[in-house]
Symmetry: C2
Subunit: 137 residues, 2 copies
């Protein structure tokens, strides 16, 4: 979406929220990971369960991720497209991380990510994340 200067500002603000969140994941910095998230977030994660509702359940999904991610966390945004209005936005991204291989080595994992945001008290806030990989045959 190309748009007005106002739209450009919103895009830039959203890009910063998403990039600072991904950087916080790489540092395993829980406070920064949760900084711009709603207490009512609905998380659809790569592993089960089918959904995690609320910030405490969301935080737990990162405990599981870090238990599988090794010491040096890979969590890269390969591509990101932002759709933003004044109060509602969503982001489509292709991501890259690693997972444990069968012999304990690290192996790369490409995954899809959709993020839903709402502006709350003049701050773009993540209210939804949907992470997934295609189903295996």
């Amino acid at each position: 979406m190309e748009g007005t200067q106002s739209s450009s500002r919103e895009h830039q603000a959203i890009r910063e929220v998403v990039e600072s969140w991904a950087a916080a994941v790489r540092r395993k910095d829980f406070e920064a990971i949760l900084k711009n998230h709603s207490s009512d977030i609905v998380m659809f994660d790569v592993p089960p369960p089918i959904q995690s509702k609320g910030i405490e359940a969301y935080k737990t999904t990162w405990d599981l991720f870090f238990s599988c991610s090794g010491d040096s966390v890979i969590f890269d945004i390969n591509t990101m497209t932002i759709f933003a209005d004044k109060e509602i936005a969503f982001v489509i991204a292709l991501m890259h991380c690693t997972e444990p291989g069968p012999g304990g080595e690290r192996k790369g994992l490409d995954f899809r990510l959709t993020i839903g945001l709402q502006k709350i008290d003049d701050q773009w806030t993540i209210v939804h994340e949907h992470h997934s990989v295609p189903a295996s045959e």
Copy 2:
């Protein structure tokens, strides 16, 4: 999101787009499935590939779905939450369909769905769908 009358109207319009799309899937009615979709749609589907870009690739994902769905298509919206501004919206849903079981019988499949919408020429238009199931262990 509760909001103004304008917001209510947008929510109702979006609900109708999503419900009429799901009903079209149940009828295997391709014309109605594609009716409110962008030519540039980005689809993250349950089966591979990791993404399908553009309306022709999107249509192909439904050929695959119908080849696995049996004669009587199940495609139900269990829950749906709408976040909408004037021009941008997204929808979080839990869905139910069926897939072939190991002996050829039908078995139920719960999945997650996030839909991204943009108002184009005064019509809510689907620009993104992300369908997934949690990854198996």
